[in-house]
């Protein structure tokens, strides 16, 4: 049985900034063969919808995987501003 990602992320506390801390240049995604970000992101922030890569920063758990996996350097990556983002109480 695989649990839905919503159930997992539902255990976390977030303070969401209105400004995205990660930005993706989707032009590069079109001819990206691997699309490793989709498999690698532990929060499933990347998704393929009708052959197009979609990204949402709100669920991000700030690991840095996507930045390292993206060979096209299409990801402008940062942590959220101070006080924003995810909180782990049992990390």
């Amino acid at each position: 049985m695989t649990a839905k990602i919503e159930e997992k992320l539902g255990t976390l506390h977030y303070t969401i900034d209105k400004e995205a801390h990660i930005k993706v240049n989707f032009d590069a995604c079109n001819d990206c063969e691997n699309k490793a970000c989709i498999r690698g992101c532990p929060a499933q922030c990347f998704e393929l919808v009708q052959d197009e890569v979609k990204f949402q920063y709100e669920d991000c758990i700030e690991c840095g995987t996507c930045k390292i996996l993206c060979d096209k350097k299409a990801i402008e990556w940062n942590y959220p501003r101070g006080t924003f983002g995810v909180v782990f109480r049992k990390g």
Binding site: P42, C63, K67
Partner: protein
Amino acid sequence: MVESVDTIVVGAGPAGSATAYSLAKAGHEVLLVERGKTPGEKNVSGGVLYGSVLHELIPNFWDEAPLERVITNRNLVFLSGESSFSLDFSSSKLEKPPHNGYSVIRYDFDQWFAKQAEETGALLATGIRVDDLLWENKQIVGIKAGSDEIRAKVVVAADGINSTLVEQAGLRKDLKAKYIALGIKEVIGLPRDVIENRFNLEHNEGTAHTYLGCTKGYPGGGFLYTNQDSLSLGIVLKLPIFKTKSHSKAPEFIDHLKQFPYIRRLIKEGTRLEYSAHLVPEGGYHGLSKLYTDGFLVTGDAAGLTLNIGYALEGMNFAIASGVAAAKTILRAHKQNDFTQSTMKHYQKLMNQSFVLKDMKTFRNAPAIVSSPRLMKSYPDFINNLALDLYQSTASPRPKLINLILKHVVHEISLPHLFIDGIKAVRGL
């Protein structure tokens, strides 16, 4: 906010708090900056804290620090489908401080450690993300956070694996996927007495499990640590896995782990309290960044100071040791009133002499060995199938042990591979 201090430490994980604590203890002015609202809320580890380094810094820390359990049992488990084969070791000798390990929850532990630094005299500023280094004549002279600029004689990068400061200082290029692993963890709540019965533990005793054969044949492994009233169950996966096509998404690997009957029993009736993920530097000696430049030192994960030798992952203790060495270097630089590379390089010397870089050098080939595809699949299958043939009773005559071994070796692993891996493991681990 103050505009100038002697030393700025970026990041209140174990590396940063150790640096700030050591400096404050020597009466030195130090500012510890953390992006989280509280230290620890951004941090994730397995995690077993090995005690001896922290004991040198804060004697008998176990009397006050928020620790979960003393690790008195270690279990290396080869998982293969319905079967499991374990090497289980328990000893009350493992209980004796300071050479022992404790399970910790970072939200509690990091908060406590940063507070020790603060109470000793360090200034702690939380909720502030450091964005840039401040430069003057090609020298690092402080930090920028939003519109604030703070100057310092030395900046210490203790900002963890995704350190932006190390890159800005020109001490490391982009992180290479082959040197990094993704750790995904679920904390599973269970009553204390259930944990103690299930794992055969007494009051504060705890266990640490390492799993092989649970990563669908990809390089990585699993772990389970007992906390007071929860289990930390997780999986560590080498990042290049995700560059190969046609296999599961990252979160599915932990679901896969939970389906092994061995694990299913251990977590039965538990509730998922938290899901988390964090990167681990796993390049070992080959994955290290440069450790210093003018007015700048790099500690802990930011420098890549961790060691995974398959049955143990060390990082927090390395981080603390590097923080202590960084503080010594800064105090010495102050005496000489020189903060250029010529005094900063003393840090490299101290690290070379410490167990951290010695171990990382000794085990420099370990990352390659512990990520061998055979270790991930063939050996766990081999050992479990062999055990099954040994213990299962059938109506046919029993073969001799040696014939059984040869049968499985031919089936599951080739003899030359077994030989080569054996030599590599003996020499590398």
